[in-house]
Subunit: 423 residues, 2 copies
């Protein structure tokens, strides 16, 4: 053969929205002069105290303290390791102390970021051949949509109106799916300052969603990525902490509270089956087929980081949360200063209490054409909400991410954005 | 819900053979006193000179030498990175020098081990909804079979009779599939000392397979994991080096020539489509949905290891190959000493020139029952060939791996194995 036919590749892979995460990571490089509200990446300042070599040494000392010989420690870091990972105990202990979530260490599966966790959990729970579909928030995290797409899973959208997915909306979607012989097995939901809308679910909404999910037999796949940015004292219990019926599988990541470069996430699954098998074991099996095991070198770096913060993910996150809350405050103030009323007719936006993101509505298509003009003529970047939508929704909306910028950049960026919006 | 129904999980995930890799990694722990010919893991000695912290520093100096500032270097290692990875240039340069393979750096995609590479490439090339099937060697690498299973891909087996898959056998399989409306898009093949059979394909067999694959329109997904163990001077050109028509996608790993703990592999894909898109870009997109990007910390460790070996994967592999060739020699000598003729009627085995594995046939079912008795009563472990077979084949065969053992263990292990075989 001289050439492959594009049409011969997997249809799932040719979906243009599949590349949106890559696009988000790479667009900034294409416009180096522009201020980018695009990527939801952590701020570089968050890495200043992170020295992987030192953190590995901390973790190695921890292993030595537990009686491992130098040769065993070397093997622990360099040899193949358990598919389930090395940090289950630490993560379970942190969840117990920080979040009042009680799970066994072997109900925790360490993964290559939250992304692999999503792929593995969706794969275990859904059989496309049987008509299983997955519910996702719409708009919602592009990585969840992408995971469903490459697994050949049909998605149904539960609207996020700015306060997360409602219990009633889930019921509507599940009922509609049942009418055409489909079964909704799970809903991917980020109750804390969701990407891309910034929505935070109230305690009441969480409890209603949990109760409805139980009635409907739908598992909730809770993504806690931005949870650590909640204002101190105003944290709302996570779905998993409220869960009394094993309705929730929790997915977490160290990308934002630690460093993205470790590519470390985890699944908390305390469910068991009627055959006595553990959901965590099934997730582990699939994780093993995806990547064998998570790099123990990367796990050692994160293990060291946890140890330096008393083993607490919350304490680790707290160290960084202030920076993100400051950025969000600066963004929201700048928007009011440059664009006036957040509930305006031509332009409006939400004002989340935490997270990395603000959702904005404008009075023109917020598409790639506008984005290109925005970058070239005005020197500012953002992400079309379209990238996070299942269908044709969100065409006049955009996502603003403020996590990786400095206050002056945010202010200048918003003044440029105001020109784009009013252009 | 109180419990999930096992039957409600994805059928693909419940396939008992899906867990065989996990089993291989964990069985040794269950019988600590037994000598294990089970896991094909690298020898611990291979890690003695490997210090991740030093190797990261080597890589960081390399980046500094290319003009990066300390802040940029820190971000390179800790921030999100390009989905394609950081080592494309180094890997392409090494393939050119070591293997006479000429590809562009952006035709190389760094992955979380060869395993993720397999999943991503299979996902891009096959659409199960369209009746695409994947050909695999039977018996063959359990990770390839597992990848096909979790992707919902049907497999057809091409027999490995000890000299790899024949061109004629591939043709038979492709023709049979076409008769029932299925299309074989690719064949996963390890020409150099395949796992689990130890088979090495001759140059003639490689050229025939390449020519036949071109005629049939089948891509060859070449796995080069054990290539580095070929006796010096007796290396046979890789399929990719012989490839003149972009028929071969090559998949490699640093797990055996470097360290498994980095979980680093790569795909070499120089194919383009009739629409002008690059196969490597499609693989990158899927890789991004699986794991976003490969840990740059892990990439820095392997980058440093490569730099310490003049940027040459071959030189890196050479450092370790002697140990594995010695182990294989010891294993083959011990087998002759304890069991006599390798072509015996009751027991027989092949005698590969390289690799980690020997295939043995015995005159009784080599199943889990025998394995348990072998561990408990005789103190020796091995892997049933059944784990690597698609159907019911290989029931009286087993795989012996010698890579992680010391010579005395190998000899003692074979003397125990002889008792199991003759029991």
């Amino acid at each position: 053969m001289s050439r492959l036919a594009l049409a011969d590749l997997s249809a799932a892979v040719l979906d243009p929205r599949l590349g949106s995460m890559t696009f988000l990571n790479e667009i900034t490089a294409r416009y180096p002069g522009a201020i980018s509200f695009g990527p939801g990446a952590p701020h570089d300042e968050a890495f200043e105290a992170v020295d992987p070599a030192r953190l590995m040494a901390v973790f190695e000392r921890h292993l030595a303290g537990r009686g491992l010989e130098p040769g065993q420690i070397r093997r622990r870091l360099l040899q193949y390791g358990p598919t389930r990972g090395l940090l289950g105990e630490m993560i379970a202990a942190s969840l117990r102390t920080d979040e009042a979530i009680t799970v066994d260490p072997d109900q925790v599966v360490v993964t290559v970021g939250a992304q692999e966790a999503l792929v593995a959990v969706l794969r275990v729970l859904h059989d496309p051949a049987r008509g299983d579909v997955v519910a996702v928030t719409d708009p919602g995290y592009a990585g969840a949509h992408g995971a469903a797409r490459i697994l050949g899973l049909e998605m149904v959208g539960v609207p996020d109106d700015g306060r997360g997915p409602h219990a009633a909306a889930l019921r509507t979607v599940v009922t509609a799916a049942e009418r055409i012989g489909r079964r909704v097995r799970s809903l991917v939901v980020a109750p804390d300052f969701a990407n891309p809308t910034g929505a935070e679910m109230s305690l009441a909404a969480r409890l209603e969603l949990l109760a409805e999910a139980e009635r409907l037999g739908v598992l909730l796949l809770e993504d806690t990525t931005y949870r650590f940015t909640a204002p101190p004292g105003a944290e709302i219990a996570s779905l998993k902490a409220l869960d009394r019926t094993q309705q929730v599988v929790q997915i977490g990541t160290f990308a934002k509270i630690g460093v993205p470069g470790a590519r470390l996430g985890y699944v908390v699954a305390d469910q068991s089956t009627d055959a006595g098998t553990a959901l965590a074991d099934h997730v582990t099996t699939v994780k093993g087929v995806l990547t064998v095991n998570t790099s123990p070198i990367a796990q050692a770096v994160i293990g060291g980081l946890l140890l330096e913060h008393g083993g607490s993910m919350r304490r680790l996150g707290d160290r960084r949360a202030g920076l993100y809350r400051r950025n969000l405050r600066v963004l929201l103030e700048a928007l009011r200063r440059h664009l006036g009323d957040p509930h305006g007719e031509d332009v409006s936006w939400n004002e989340p209490a935490g997270g990395f993101f603000v959702r904005m509505s404008v009075n023109k298509p917020a598409d790639e054409k506008l984005l290109r003009r925005s970058a070239e003529d005005f020197g500012v970047l953002w992400t079309p909400m379209r990238y996070f939508s299942l269908g044709d929704g969100g065409n006049r909306q955009l996502r603003l991410a403020c996590s990786s910028l400095d206050p002056e950049q945010i202010d200048e960026g918003v003044s440029r954005l105001a020109k784009v919006v009013r252009d």
